[in-house]
Subunit: 270 residues, 2 copies
C-alpha cells in the first residue's frame, strides 16, 4: 500500500470557515429540555450553528433532515445531529409514530450530500433502544496500565491535494446513549447521565483529544457512575452502557475556531 | 465526578499471564481459507491461543461459544472471536441456517462470563450484511491537518485496587467488514480486503497504538483502496465501508508479552 493511505496521524480538516450546522431534535417531555439546553450550550461553545426543533412529526423530521442535507455545507468542517427522544432498537419516536434512524441518516450519505462528502457526519442519539434492563456485574480491577504514547511513530502530513473515491457511507459516526435492546434512563431534573457526561467531556477535551477517545471516556463515565431505579418501578439498580458505531476514517479533533473580534472604531472628532 | 472516573489515559490491563483465547470460525468456501490463515498468523503473533473451527452448524456455533465463555479466562488479558462467513444484517451463516450475532455474543456478557468481566471482548466479523452495493462518491480533499498531541494532558494512573459495578454489556467491541445492509466482497485468491487491512495494521501498530485508532486506519485503507466488481456481475465499481461498534471503556494497546526463553542447560561432564 502506498504511504498516503497508510498514514496514521491523518486528521479531518477542521479549519474551514465555519464549524458547521447542528440540529437538535427534542421529541419527548420530561428531562429532555435540560438535555437540549446542555447540548445547545456545548455545541455552541464548539463553534456550531445550533437550531433546536421540538415535538416533530414523522414527516417533519424526514423533511427537516432532507432540507438540512441539501443546504450548502461547503464552508463547514462537519455536521452534527442530536436526537433526544424515546425509541426502539433502530428507530426514534416522532409525535405521531416512529422513524428509522437509517432514514434520518440517509440524506447525508456522500453521493447525495456532496458538500459533506469526506467530512464527519455525527449523530448523537439519547433514546431507549428496547425494553431490557441491565442489572450490572461487579468487577475488581487490580490495576490499570498506562500505555505507550501511540503518537510517537506518526508521520507528518503534507499539504497535497488529492482526489479519491470513498464509499457513500464513509465518515459517519452514530453515538448512542445505550446499546441495542436496552432502556436509557432519564433524569427529569438534572438531564440524562449520557448527555451530561458527553457535554462534560466535549467541553473539557474537544480541542485536544480525538473524538473516539472522548467517547471511550463517556462510555466509562456512564458505565461506572450511572445507576438508577427506572421510574421507581424496580428496586434492583439498573446500569447503562453507551455505544458508538464508527465509519470515521480519520481522527477528529475540534481545533478551536479563531474568534471573530469586533473592533469598535471610535471616530475621533476632527 | 471524582478523579478516578475522569482519568483519561486509562488503559486495559494487558499484562496478565496469558493474552487470551482466540476463536476463528470459517463458514464459507472460497477466499475464506486465506483470511483464516492470515488471522491465525496475526493473532498468534499478538500472543493469542488460536483455534480455527470450520463449517459449523447453528447448534455447533452456539454450543462452541457457550463452552468457550464458560472456560476460565482469569489469567487472560482479553478474548477474540473472528467470524468469516456470509450473513444478513445482524446474523451470520452456519452450514444449516443463520445465527444472530447477538446470540453468539451473549454468553460473554459480564454477568454470565465473570472471568472476562471488565476485560475486552473483541468480535471481528467478515461477512456481508445485506444485498446493497456501494458505488462510492468522489472526494477532493484539499489538505489534512495534523492534530495536537492528545496525550499531553493525560494524568498518571496509580496502582490502586478498586471494585465497581459495570453494565453487563460493557467492554465489547464488534468490528464489521462493512456497514449494515451492504455486501462485503471477497477475493478468493488474496483474501478479503478487510482482513488483509486488519492484519496489516494489527501487525504493524498493535504494540504502540490504541485499538480504535487502528480500526480508524483500517476504515480508511478499505474505504480508499478497495474497489471491485462483485463476481463480475456489475461493471460499476463497488466500494466498501467497514464499521465498528464500541462499548469499550478504556484504551486497548496490545503491550508485548514477555517471550518465554528456553535456556538449554548443557551439563558439563564432571
Amino acid at each position: 500500500m502506498e504511504p498516503d493511505v497508510m498514514r496514521v496521524s491523518d486528521t479531518y480538516n477542521m479549519e474551514h470557515e465555519r464549524r458547521g450546522l447542528a440540529v437538535i431534535i427534542t421529541n419527548t417531555q420530561g428531562g429532555v429540555e435540560k438535555d437540549g439546553e446542555s447540548m445547545t450550550d456545548c455545541l455552541t461553545q464548539l463553534g456550531f450553528e445550533v437550531t433546536v426543533y421540538s415535538n416533530q412529526t414523522m414527516r417533519q423530521m424526514k423533511v427537516l433532515m432532507s432540507k438540512v442535507a441539501q443546504s450548502d455545507h461547503s464552508t463547514c468542517d462537519c455536521f452534527v445531529c442530536v436526537i433526544l427522544s424515546d425509541g426502539g432498537n433502530d428507530n426514534v419516536k416522532a409525535t405521531d409514530g416512529t422513524v428509522t434512524i437509517s432514514s434520518l441518516v440517509a440524506p447525508f450519505k456522500g453521493h447525495i450530500c456532496k458538500s459533506l462528502a469526506g467530512k464527519p457526519k455525527l449523530f448523537f442519539i439519547q433514546a431507549s433502544r428496547g425494553r431490557e434492563l441491565d442489572h450490572g456485574v461487579n468487577v475488581t480491577n487490580a490495576f490499570s496500565v498506562v500505555g505507550d504514547d501511540a503518537d510517537d511513530d506518526y508521520d507528518e502530513v503534507d499539504g497535497e491535494s488529492v482526489t479519491y473515491k470513498i464509499p457513500a457511507g464513509a465518515d459517519f459516526l452514530l453515538a448512542y446513549s445505550t446499546v441495542a435492546g436496552y432502556q436509557s434512563p432519564r433524569n427529569t431534573i438534572n438531564g440524562s447521565c449520557y448527555i451530561n457526561a458527553l457535554c462534560w467531556v466535549l467541553k473539557k477535551y474537544s480541542t485536544t483529544m480525538d473524538l473516539l477517545r472522548m467517547l471511550i471516556l463517556v462510555n466509562k463515565i456512564v458505565a461506572r457512575r450511572f445507576q438508577s431505579q427506572i421510574d421507581g418501578r424496580s428496586t434492583i439498580p439498573v446500569k447503562q452502557m453507551p455505544s458508538f458505531v464508527s465509519m470515521l476514517t480519520k481522527d477528529l479533533i475540534f481545533t478551536p475556531k479563531e474568534e471573530v473580534v469586533w473592533v469598535r472604531r471610535v471616530m475621533e472628532p476632527s
